[in-house]
């Protein structure tokens, strides 16, 4: 380097403009970082910190109001011996799996229907979002009344058709209770799928359909070979979000059954909450909540990898 440096000696240095804060801020890289800083700080403070603190707590025997002692994986070992924990694992997987599938199929159907031309299309599209907009607690209370044998419209109709009184106990039997919460979650989550997929459907170029029609494709074939492949990445993204929301669902179960009957509807979030807040076992509660992480993480990684490969 020293040898070649001589060659540049003769070049006069360019006069540097004086540094001003205004111009520094106006630089593309600086400005974009400044704009990004608040959300990044926000995420670090309200997502990153609690998450790391959660991991830290899960490794401690940490009763509320008392100092914690490090016990390594003690909480996770205790969990593994807890039959209710395994019931919670089963419940959460069944709840998430079935509800997501129903939402996916139903949402796709909803989007296809909404993509047609009909009267009052815009108003009906807007109204469809209602279940998603109404606060979960409110809609759940409404369902509480609808599923209450004394007041249930569903049971009243069934009894009208000759079902023996007082009708099915929707939340009293473990299987029916799980079906009920899945149905309510599906009702609430369907518009999210529907509207997002509808947005996707509208990006499909009409020419593709025209070309397919000219080639003699039937309605099903147009759906199978044109619509579906184009929608696939959107379906994956929506599913990813939906699985995360459903897996970590809390409000619906907390309001409707509080995990009952006999823990048949207890999910990770409600069980973790009961342990952490109800019995003040912050460490064990954090461990229960974190136990859902590996499954979620695997899923997210798988879907992300798949999307990358596609693109």
């Amino acid at each position: 380097m020293a040898i070649r440096a001589e060659e540049f000696v003769g070049i006069a240095p360019r006069p540097r403009r004086p540094f001003t804060l205004g111009e520094w801020v106006d630089r593309g890289t600086v400005f974009s970082w400044l704009m990004m800083a608040p959300p990044i700080l926000f995420i670090l403070a309200f997502v990153g910190y609690p998450f790391c603190y959660g991991i830290f707590l899960s490794l401690e025997n940490r009763p509320v109001a008392q100092p914690g002692t490090f016990i390594g994986l003690g909480n996770f070992i205790k969990e593994a011996h807890d039959p209710v924990f395994w019931q919670v694992v089963r419940n959460t997987f069944v709840y998430t799996g079935v509800a997501t599938l129903l939402k996916m199929v139903g949402g796709l159907g909803l989007a296809l229907a909404m993509n047609q031309d009909f009267k009052f299309k815009n108003i009906i599209r807007a109204l469809l979002l209602l279940p998603f907009i109404v606060p979960t607690v409110l809609s759940t209370v409404a369902f509480m009344w609808m599923l209450d044998p004394a007041f249930s419209v569903i049971n009243r109709v069934l009894i009208g058709f000759g079902w023996p009184k007082p009708g099915p106990s929707w939340l009293g039997s473990p299987i029916l209770a799980m079906c009920s919460i899945i149905a309510i979650n599906t009702w609430r989550g369907l518009p999210f799928y529907g509207i997002t997929l509808l947005a996707g459907l509208q990006t499909v170029p009409v020419e593709l359909y025209e070309a397919a029609t000219i080639d003699g494709a039937s309605g099903w074939q147009r759906f199978r070979y044109v619509t579906l492949p184009i929608l696939q990445p959107i379906i994956l993204i929506v599913t990813l979000f939906s699985v995360i929301f459903t897996f970590a669902d809390f409000q619906l179960v907390y309001v409707l059954t509080h995990g009952g009957p006999q823990n048949a509807t207890a999910l990770f979030a409600t069980y973790a909450f009961d342990i952490a807040m109800g019995s003040g076992q912050l460490g064990l509660g954090a461990a229960v909540a974190l136990a859902m992480l590996p499954a979620l993480a695997l899923l997210i990684v798988a879907i992300t990898l798949y999307l990358r490969k596609k693109s």
Binding site: D26, M35, P63, Q66, G74, G259, G260, P261, L282
Partner: protein, 425 residues
């Protein structure tokens, strides 16, 4: 984006951040203390504190008392947050086993506990059970919100029953007849906060069953006594109740009561209170009674409410002085009276107070105090018991049996859960 507009965005953002950082209220002149309370089912009770007690105290001492209300069921979360962040309220209402969970962060209030006991007729035994740890008062019990039997006098009379049955077996016989007449019973077997424990612990105790010995270590749920209580619960459920009770939470039996769907349940006075306000015809045929007795006696659940002071509060002394003032007969009696007898005093000094004459049907709640205990009794209250309650070990033991599982299996499951909980201690 142009240069000027970029700068504008920044200016607006900075101005916004600056405004947010400004203190939005000036500090009050005198000391201010905050008392956290769960929203009361009886609205006038909260209003009496806000409109009478707090202003009176401020007038007398210059100390402002803020009464912060939190929704039903959210108190443990609020308290845990305050304790973990060491910021927030100075005094708090505490329910059931929470004084024991939070004991390390609660101020010793033995002087207040002893003083009030002496001045106001002495504590009920269960008062000491609910507020003291190793002889020291960590919280001052305020009341019990007792859970007793609520029954329909008209439907009971239809089958010739004029007084409430004295034993569980007698109640079972009545329930069988009433269910046959389409007036089933409804006792919560789901995951509520209180109405499930309200009758299941007393039932277990009245047959002689317990979770853990008084030593706080030896799990004794696996006993013939427990089995007898479970066998009773199973037939009581099958022959006397609605199937839906398995899913019930705390509001369910109230709804069923006003829908005239059930003829007997176990609840606080709120059923009668609300019936008198909104369903006067139902109120006329609603009566209340102590829990039936079993082979080993009659028991009730202490659904305790007490008040504690956080020991990290910057206003410890002011809070202590306020609690002493609040628990003085003049204030305490008036506060109880504001809610009739929804809050049952834990002090003998109120045994014959006029509040009991407002609604004589509430008197069983007073009489039940002598046989009331905290959940998990006779084991000392603490973390393990709280975990057992939060995991619904006892409730689900009964509920599973009612749903069809064998007595042996449900006891085995509860026993193994309790052993896990107590082993980790």
């Amino acid at each position: 984006m142009s240069k000027s507009s970029r700068r504008d965005v920044l200016k607006i953002a900075l101005a916004g951040a600056g405004a947010a950082a400004l203190p939005w209220r000036a500090k009050a002149a005198g000391p201010t203390i905050t008392m956290l309370h769960e929203s009361s089912f009886i609205k006038v009770f909260d209003e009496f504190f806000q409109n009478t007690l707090a202003p009176n105290y401020e007038k007398e001492t210059g100390v402002k008392v803020v009464y912060e209300i939190t929704s039903v069921g959210s108190l443990p979360t609020r308290d845990s947050t305050i304790i973990e962040t060491q910021a927030g309220a100075d005094l708090t209402m505490l329910g059931l086993l929470y004084p024991f969970l939070y004991q390390d962060k609660l101020l010793d209030v033995t002087d207040i506990g002893e003083e009030i006991g002496k001045k106001q007729g002495g504590w009920y035994d269960v008062g000491k059970e609910a507020g003291t740890i190793d002889g020291k008062w960590k919280a001052i019990p305020f009341s019990n919100i007792g859970q007793l039997m609520n029954w329909r006098t008209d439907w009971f009379a239809e089958i010739g029953v004029k007084t409430f049955p004295d034993t569980w077996e007698d109640l079972y016989e009545v329930g069988k007849k009433l269910k046959a007449k389409d007036h089933p019973f409804g006792f919560e077997l789901g995951h509520g906060f209180g109405d499930n424990h309200g009758w299941l612990y007393p039932l277990l105790w009245s047959y002689g069953g317990h979770e853990v010995e008084p030593d706080g270590k030896t799990v004794v749920i696996d006993s013939d006594e427990t089995a007898k209580a479970i066998d009773f619960a199973r037939k009581f459920f099958k022959d006397c109740m609605l199937d839906d009770v398995l899913s019930w939470t705390d509001v369910s039996n109230n709804k069923a009561w006003y829908a005239e769907q059930i003829s007997c349940t176990n609840n606080a006075q709120s059923i009668l209170w609300l019936a008198k306000r909104d369903f006067p015809e139902i109120a006329k045929v609603t009566d209340q009674a102590m829990n039936p007795q079993g082979p080993k006696g009659r028991f009730h659940l202490m659904n305790s409410i007490s008040h504690g002071i956080f020991n990290f509060s910057p206003e410890k002394q002011a809070s202590h002085d306020f609690l002493r003032w609040l628990m003085d007969e003049k204030q305490l009696g008036a506060w109880y009276a504001s809610a009739d007898s929804y809050y049952q005093p834990v002090l003998h000094g109120y045994d014959n107070a006029p509040m009991w004459d407002v609604e004589p049907r509430n008197k069983p709640f007073r009489d039940a105090m002598a046989t009331a205990h905290l959940p998990g009794w006779p084991a000392p209250p603490g973390r393990q018991l709280a975990e057992s309650v939060a995991k619904y070990v006892v409730v689900d033991m009964f509920a599973k049996a009612c749903a069809g599982a064998s007595t042996k299996d449900v006891i085995k499951a509860a026993d193994s859960q309790l052993r896990d909980i107590y082993r980790a201690a």
